[in-house]
């Protein structure tokens, strides 16, 4: 069995977002790029599954749609333990475009299970995973907080309102993962970093796809009014303000 983990390259989560002139893109100066937190966890889970040889996982490959500049992030994933990587040499123009590129690679290279994160921390789309599955015509399970293999089937835990379900599905399939999928992200050890240098990164040119959406302008969120302080000795006043001023209780 072959696993593919989709990796998106995002600004470190503590980054103060600034926009470039014209507000049509973000100012990338000084940004630390990292693997999207969910993708880091799904890679961790994929490697855990591979470590258990009874699962019969031959390889864990990471894929990224992005320009050569994001190769640093791909190397990080290889250092953490992915066997090899694919980069589709294109700007990820929108989710539809990106998913189409990933699906194309899956068709060529035949993966059994594709992992995607539930949300990228930059575009906050929550759409690439489901789109990949639909392009491929294979089942997808979303809000996945656990995955294992049993009798050749994937057994997934899916979060639902106020609880969870167990869902079984046969490969090929797409698992769209969130909190719980792995406890802590695996970090690269020195040996992994050395080995990553010689691991293969295949570069594919993109297929022609028309994106369906386009960001035309960025804005900062509206600033909140200054904080009104209430004396710690008299919290009763807070309740009054919430009742009469904010009218929320």
């Amino acid at each position: 069995m072959k696993i593919l983990v989709c990796i998106s390259n995002v600004p470190d989560t503590t980054t103060k977002i600034k926009f470039a002139a014209g507000n049509t893109s973000i100012d990338t100066a000084g940004i630390q790029w990292v693997i999207n937190p969910w993708d880091e966890l799904s890679l961790t889970r994929a490697l855990e599954l591979k470590d258990d040889t009874s699962n019969g996982i031959k390889s864990v490959t990471v894929i990224h749609v992005g320009p050569a500049a994001s190769e640093t992030t791909i190397r990080k994933a290889l250092a953490i333990g992915a066997d090899d990587a694919v980069r589709v040499n294109a700007e990820p123009l929108d989710a539809y475009y990106t998913a189409a590129q990933i699906a194309e690679v899956v068709k060529k290279e035949q993966f059994d299970v594709v992992f995607c994160g539930i949300e990228s921390s930059d575009f906050n789309g929550s759409t690439v995973g489901g789109m990949v599955a639909e392009f491929l015509g294979v089942p997808s399970v979303s809000a996945v907080s656990g995955i294992k293999f049993e009798n050749g089937q994937a057994v997934l835990t899916r979060e639902i309102d106020g609880g969870k379900e167990t869902v079984t599905v046969s490969a090929p399939c797409v698992a769209i993962v969130q909190k719980g999928i792995a406890k802590e992200p695996r970090i690269a050890a020195m040996r992994g970093i050395m080995m990553a240098r010689s691991k293969p990164v295949k570069v594919f040119e993109p297929v022609a796809v028309e994106p369906l959406t386009q960001v035309v302008e960025f804005e900062k969120p509206a600033p909140r009014a200054a904080c009104k302080y209430i004396d710690a000795e008299n919290p009763r006043q807070l309740i009054e303000l919430l009742q009469n001023e904010a009218k929320v209780i």
């Binding site: 989710a95 921390s121 906050n124 599955a133 969120p221 309740i239």
Partner: protein
Amino acid sequence: MSVLVYTENWDGKFKKLSYELVSYAAGVAKMNGTSVTAVSVGRVEEAELKQLGNYGASKIISVTNENLSQLDSQAYAGVIAEVAAKEGSKVIIIANNNTGKAIAPRLSVRLKAGVGSGVSKLPVNHNPFTVYKRTYSGNAFAQLVIKSDIKILTLAQNSFDLVPSSNTATIENYTANVDGSTVKTSVTNVEKQTGKMLLTDADIVISGGRGMKSPDNWSPLVELADLLGGATACSRPVSDEGWRPHGEHTGQTGKIIAPNLYVAVGISGATQHLAGISSSKYIVAINSDKDAPIFESAQYGIVGDALKVLPKLVEAVKE
């Protein structure tokens, strides 16, 4: 040409989110001079279906099929696509919850329809079709143009006010063509808590962080939430430590919520925490450190020891 809205039901009942979706769809329909058709999947009583009219649906398509008793994103997307084609809908509205996130992207590829996800306001413009979208986990907003003929919008929960309407909706029963052999996922077990207010549904949320010091200090926080009819939440380290259940963790890697009131008790206000709560209408911070970043996001603040302030708040609410 009607605006199509997928209204999920929970054991045959709708909830506030369903009416928010219909209200939003009615707002979009007004912009383009059309009407709202709601599509419901699963067994829902007629009286319950009619409720959707009270928020602006003129037609309700009720789909029942035994092969749709569990969420299979492929099958659901197929059925909604079928109904959208039948209605000639150019705009489709879905919730940005777990179910919506499972269905919307598949529907997008099927209909070649661009998605504006997690919207909270009506479209900024009809032509070109432009929506206002949260990006960078709340640190920026984007104006997104959807260029495709059909558009899909997913609406953030608790972000759009209900707009009552005097519509009387007509109900159409629709038998979907779903072959059981095409449903590829099977649900083998369900564990569900009932009777407890869901964090994502709550209008009031009282949330504790590491400043609560120990799992044994939570009772005044829980009592305050109960008295106000709210739900409880926590920061990530609190759930990681096992002080509180995992389902309570809010933030970028937890739940993203938008209650009317979010009270952050002993929470520093890290950007990853704010990512989950910054859309709350009012944020109250209770923190012993006057320089804690959470105060920058709060409208009301108390600088003080949470363990002393909470019992006083409980007293004040009781009176």
